[in-house]
Amino acid sequence: MMKMNRLPKCLHCPLFGLLLFGGLLFSMGCETLDIPNPNAPTVEQVTVQSLVTGVEAGMRLEIGIYLRVVGILGREVYYFEPADPRYTGELLFGTVDPGGFLLNRPWSARYRTIATCNFILDKANDLEPQAAAGARGFAKTIMAYQLLLNLNYLDENGIRLNFDGDLSKPFASKQEAFARIESLLDEGLADLNNAGADFAFTLTEGFSKWNLHTPAGFAKFNRAIRARVAVYQGKYNEALQALNASFLDRNGPMEMGAYYVFGTGLGDQPNPIFENPDAPFVKLMAHPTFETDAEAGDQRFATKVKKRPEPTTFDNLTSQLGVTISKSSTDPFPIIRNEELILLAAEANIGLGNLAEAQNDINLVRAAAGLSPVTLTADNAVTQLLHEKRYSLFGEGHRWIDMRRYGRLDELPVDRATDKVIDRLPIPETERSEGK
């Protein structure tokens, strides 16, 4: 007969059991339930550097769609996309779909970059004063530039200046938007001036190639954008003032400036404008008037397009001109560059009646393109300026906006009977408060 195991006496005492119960509870109850996301970082966990690089990457998001859309609206280019009729449809005759991707994808990408800039502003609070000022200066400058691109899209319709997703707040007018863009740039400049000699983060070659990657250099980029914003509003004195503090250099190369950079590595993006110019079919093609309006010997025409052996016809539109402004899938694409700044100076001077100074700048640009000088008069100055901008900045997203500013959209060519020129894009469906 087996004997019953003799158990420690404590096992017969209820109090001991209760103690054990409580002890187990206490030791297990202490583990935290606040588990960070195991699959991806959260804002709290990451460095300013990775957000800054994220901003540089975010600025390029959907920039291909943006450049195509404003290029098509300004009758600079066609985009022959067999998979999507909208590039040769609604953009050329309206009405642009307020829920469509042509509007919404670039619009959303700009605000996504702004959200990242806001994360940088939050993070800056934890940094040393100089590093914080540098981070703020960077973030505010980029936010202003992102808002400007969306304002270019919607123009008189205005944009959203509240970033909290609250649709009950009013949509900001064009004037309010410009005011915010200006103040962001000016605050950004003040921050950059307090940021010491170097940023606490590094920027890509898009800024470092032309030495815009230090607080002082980035301040010049800030002023360049500020000059564009001032010219857009006809504030010509302010524009000249800003240009003086920018990287404008009449002796420097025309391509000097700030760029989007592209790559084919993991998580990177290729240049969306580049297409193999010798492919049997290319989608992005210049408007035929780019050839017919070109002056003989204009090197800008020769380098920015390539005449193909056969014309391409798509959706009753025909062109023979492939666009070659980007040379490879890793070619950087300009954000703003010296050639535009010289032309912005010319434009400001025209606006202020200083035709002589304007003429010097315009002829400087023409000489670089291998063209002979012109004489500006009060009558031809604006037309000449817009011609030079069209050829100097072809495909870079300016023509439609410039023509609109001067009320000259009706001068743009229309190709098909039902086509018409659209002056602005609608407020995206997702940003409207009605029905919400």
Binding site: N5, L7, L11, P14, G17, L18, L20, F21, L24, L25, F26, M28, G29, C30, E31, T32, L33, D34, I35, N37, P38, N39, A40, P41, T42, V43, V46, S50, L51, T53, G54, V55, E56, A57, G58, R60, L61, Y111, R112, T113, I114, A115, T116, N118, F119, R160, F163, G165, L167, T202, T204, G206, V261, G263, G265, L266, G267, D268, Q269, T430
Partner: protein, 997 residues
């Protein structure tokens, strides 16, 4: 955190209770023997309790017991044993000194069954206030089953078991009481011996070959198996199904889809019993969809000159590719052995099984090895422990089936294979398919899609009787365990395949490994108190700790070196990783009151905090309350007693939750690199900082009656579930920097009735017939939607999808068709509803002489299925009815041409009625009489039974696909019943011999 800890401390203090002194009195001893009515054999392990006290004992190996009573006057013995009717024996002084014999009758209607009502308490079914279903092993395994879930089909009202694919290894949905969510989890919580068993469906990565969806897609289509399939069904003693919130509330925030409690077998007293079971059988294709018979004219029209040329080359012969592809007779065999035994102190159950089952497609199949040891040991009268451990290794070869964008799956490829074109290998050479980018016969013969799982589940329960007097007791029950598995999915698509040869990087090898550990620990205190006038109180309280930790890693290699399969023998490698961490803490308190076995009241509350919630430390409370009254215990019932000898009314209310999907709460950043630097941008989904569980509030009521002197039983239940805080994906204005967010933003109502009728139409010594008829019906409606109506679950609107719209059933099928309402508004036309109108099942058992005949029919009435398989074969020009004519607007057209001509404007031709009748289970068993084998084996054999049977033997349906039981998207709430030619269903036949030693 603080509040949580404080609460724990409070509960820890619970248990300081009245300790009353034991009364002393003159004691006498009663001796007795418990035997069964049908065979007269002794019944070891039967419980004998003195009514109104906690004094009791159990019978020994010989069915005998000895019980010391303090007072014989007015004492009543309650004798109970699972599966038998409880007996009450009034003690009278003449019994002292005698051995009384107590005869136990079988409880066919299971009124005395013990049902678990909490985490540490149970109650007899006759008192139960919820419609809880239970099934014992013999009923569960009427017919051989590959995996456990299949065996639940048709057995209970309100439990709908439906397969996603016929592929070996499963992929099965178990739905309890209809639709309860749109975006949340859909499968019940499985608890095996107190361990929460992981039932995840892990993707194999086959999507990367079929291109059905990208890796990491939120809607993967790999039709994975679910891991509950790993259990050995033979180990199961009983299964209890808590269908709705009112019964499952004690499981709190994870129990909205119900809870399935599985108890495995235990050791027994007496001589060690050895059971040996051997099965052999085969699988074959359940139903064909047929294929078009071409003429030269139709071949030319369909495939042009190439069609004409190939038709003439083959002489227009008809090759039945369903025979070629799905015509295998897959052999199945299963060997299982178990040992059960022990003494008063230590008892054991040891089992082993091996099952091998070939599929109806060559090179597919399933095999499983399982071993289990269940031990229980009694240290003393106060302390006993149970420890169970189970190891499983299962392997399934699943082929490549289902949706596809690369035309490599068997179904798609055959859909594009005209019956006159021969793709079978000649002299070992597989001809190139001229009508499809792949040759499915070649694919079948070389592609690998294997899933290998190694799994260990260990469970422990310690019962510590802290305190006991004649009328009260306090127990401390520690219960918990670990479920660990490692799953390896290997997919190899060799470079020599036609589909790979033309790829940039021919040949793909995918290796997905999933490592999963989850553990849980429950600490419970249970106090029972019984008053002198037979009122008992059970108070239980406890806390739970649970952790889930999963790591999924998929490596994709492309450009395989010929003959190699390792992922490093390739030109490129891509990797995807997904980790899943969830930690939960909970507590509960429950009170059950049994008033003289007439009225039963239970109420309790569960609190849960989980790392998946926006606020991980917030405790969400889930209350419950229920009551039942046995009217038949009252005098006034006497006038009805001839009709109904047992009648109980019950009502129950409870709340449960469904935890947020894991990443809903996080605002994450995603890599966006520039200039060679690593950059991060916010993801397009904003974290929902205040996301909380979906909440189901259920009220159920009904009655249970035993009729005609227990020749029949009727159970009726109505339930109403109001589900609030539904997870929805809400669009955000992009100016916020985000595109969407998960919100708690909707309400749904699900109602249903469940009727179960048990009958004993015949009960004579030579022939008995038991029959159970189940009927149930559920319907759901979206009562509030905080976002715009949206489509969910299909591929595209014109291909049929489901519409989530206020006032509509969430499983409403819509398509391209629009309609104008009288008020002028345009809306999607309803094409059907995937939820069936009702489901019925008929389970019958005939016992005559030494034979048992069992069969189970299931009838699903209604329920739409989106048959895109037919669209695929239409597009391939091979649908069986393609050339049949249909008159449209007075014009005669071929059905196939017509369907394709309206594609894009009409979806209805591909939406079909999914009603069916299925003979789920059939078995005929012969219990070989002892005298026939006694001469051969002597006393060595205790029993010998032979049986034949089958599963899914017959299917009657008007559905034109393989099987209306189908789901391309797996176990989703919205989006089941989309058919894109999965692995076809099979029927299985088997012969079984089992013997006991």
């Amino acid at each position: 955190m603080k509040t949580f800890k404080a609460l724990f401390s409070c509960i820890a203090l619970f248990g300081v209770l009245l300790l009353t002194s034991q009364a002393q009195a003159q004691s006498v001893t009663i001796r007795g023997k418990v035997i069964t009515a049908d065979t007269g054999e002794p019944l070891p392990g039967a419980n004998i309790v003195v009514l109104g006290t906690s004094t009791g004992t159990a019978t020994d190996v010989n069915g005998e017991f000895r019980l010391t009573l303090t007072d014989v006057s007015d004492a009543t013995l309650v004798v109970s044993f699972i599966g038998y009717k409880t007996q009450q024996i009034k003690v009278d002084p003449s019994m002292v000194g005698e051995v009384i014999t107590i005869t136990m009758e079988e409880d066919v209607l299971r009124l005395n069954e013990i049902v678990v009502t909490g985490l540490a308490t149970s109650v007899a079914r006759r008192n139960l206030a919820n419609a809880v279903e239970t099934v014992k092993s013999d009923e569960l395994l009427q017919a051989s089953t590959q995996t456990l879930e299949r065996a639940l089909g048709g057995k209970f009202p309100g439990v709908f078991v439906s397969q996603n694919t016929g592929a070996p290894g499963g992929g099965i949905s178990v739905n309890l009481r209809g639709t309860t969510t749109i975006e949340g989890a859909t499968q019940p919580l499985y608890v095996i011996d107190g361990v929460i068993m992981n039932n995840a469906a892990n993707q194999s990565g086959i999507d990367l070959v079929t291109k059905a969806t990208g890796a990491g897609s939120s809607r993967p289509q790999g039709q994975p198996t679910n891991r509950i399939a790993d259990l050995n069904p033979n180990d199961i003693e009983s299964i209890e199904v808590l269908k709705g919130a009112s019964a499952a509330a004690i499981y709190g925030a994870k129990a909205t889809n119900g809870v399935i409690i599985i108890t495995t077998k235990r050791g027994g007293l007496g001589k060690t019993r050895i059971e040996i079971n051997q099965q052999v059988g085969f699988n074959s294709l359940l139903k064909k969809i047929g294929s078009r018979r071409f003429t030269l004219e139709t071949a030319t029209k369909q495939y042009g000159d190439l069609g004409a040329q190939e038709f003439q080359k083959s002489g227009g012969k008809f090759i039945d590719y369903e025979d070629v592809m799905y015509g295998e007779k897959g052999i199945l065999s299963e060997t299982s052995i178990s040992l059960q035994g022990g003494n008063n102190r230590t008892q054991f159950y040891v089992s082993g099984m091996f099952r091998n089952e070939d599929g109806i497609i060559k090179r597919t199949g399933y095999n499983k090895y399982s071993g289990r040891v269940n031990l229980s040991h009694k240290f003393s009268e106060r302390l006993d422990i149970q420890a169970n451990i189970n190891f499983v290794r299962s392997s399934s070869d699943r082929g490549i089936t289902g949706n596809d964008n690369s035309n490599t799956t068997f179904g798609f490829s055959l859909g594009f294979t005209p019956s006159f074109f021969d793709i079978r290998p000649k002299n070992g050479v597989y001809p190139d398919h001229l009508f499809n980018p792949s040759n499915p016969i070649h694919t079948r013969d070389v592609l690998v899609n294997n899933e290998l799982v190694n799994r260990t589940i260990a469970a422990t329960q310690i019962n510590w009787h802290l305190y006991k007097t004649h009328n009260q007791s306090l127990d401390f029950i520690i219960n918990g365990g670990v479920d660990f598995y490692n799953q390896e999915n290997k997919v190899v698509s060799p470079p020599e395949l036609q589909s790979e040869r033309n790829a940039d990087l021919p040949g793909a090898s995918l290796l997905a490994t999933t490592r999963n550990v989850n553990w849980n620990l429950y600490l419970n205190l249970a106090h029972r108190y019984q008053t002198g006038n037979n009122i008992s109180f059970s108070t239980t309280a406890g806390v739970q700790f649970e952790d889930l930790d999963k790591n999924y890693l998929l490596t994709e290699a492309r450009g395989l070196i010929v003959t190699q399969t390792n992922v490093d023998q390739a030109a490129t490698i891509n990797a995807f990783q997904d980790r899943f961490l969830r930690r939960e803490r909970g507590f509960y308190v429950q009170e059950e009151i049994n008033l003289q076995d007439r009225i039963y009241l239970a109420f309790g509350i569960r609190g849960d905090a989980s790392s998946a919630n926006g606020d991980p430390n917030k405790i969400f409370l889930f209350p419950k309350a229920s009551a039942s009254i046995r009217l038949s215990e009252y005098k006034f019932w006497d006038s009805f007693r001839s009709l109904s000898d047992e009648f109980k009314l019950r009502v129950a209310y409870g709340e449960t939750g469904n935890l947020p999907v894991l990443d809903a709460k996080y605002t994450s950043l995603t890599p966006n690199n520039a200039g060679g630097k690593a950059g991060l941008l916010p993801a397009t989904r904003r974290g929902a900082a205040d996301i909380r569980p979906e909440r189901t509030k259920e009220l159920e009521m009904g009655f249970d009656a035993a009729l005609f002197n227990e020749r029949a039983s009727l159970s009726f239940t109505f339930f109403n579930q109001n589900i609030s805080d539904l997870f929805l994906i809400a669009d955000l204005p992009p100016s916020s920097g985000f595109v969407e967010e998960v919100i708690n933003g909707g309400k749904m109502r699900t109602r249903g009735v469940e009727i179960s009728l048990g009958l004993i139409p015949l009960n004579s010594p030579n022939l008995t017939w038991h029959s159970r008829i189940n009927f149930y019906k559920t319907s759901s409606v979206i009562t509030q939607l905080d976002v715009d109506p949206f489509n969910k679950g299909g591929f595209a609107t014109f291909l049929g999808t489901f519409r989530i719209q206020e006032g509509w059933s969430p499983t409403t099928v819509i398509g391209a068709e629009m309609e104008t309402l009288p008020d002028g508004t345009r809306q999607h036309k309803k094409l059907g509803d995937a939820t069936p109108d009702f489901v019925m099942s008929f389970n019958n058992v005939f016992e005559f002489g030494h034979f048992d005949l069992r069969f189970l029919w299931e009838w699903k009435n209604g329920g739409a299925v989106i048959n895109l398989g037919k669209l695929i074969t239409d597009l391939g020009g091979t649908t069986a009815d393609y050339d049949e004519t249909i008159v449209v607007d007075g014009k005669e057209m071929k059905k196939g041409d017509w369907r394709l001509s309206v594609l894009g404007t009409q979806t209805a031709p591909y939406v079909e009625d999914g009603s069916y009748w299925k003979l789920r289970e059939l078995s005929l068993t012969y219990n070989v009489p002892r005298q026939l084998y006694a001469s051969l084996f002597g006393e060595a054999l205790t029993h010998l039974t032979l049986s034949i049977g089958g599963r899914n033997l017959l299917l009657f349906t008007s559905y034109t696909g393989y099987d209306p039981e189908v789901s391309q998207f797996g176990n989703v709430a919205i989006g089941r019943y989309v058919d894109t030619l999965p692995y076809p269903s099979s029927r299985s036949f088997y012969f079984n011999i089992s013997l006991g030693l």
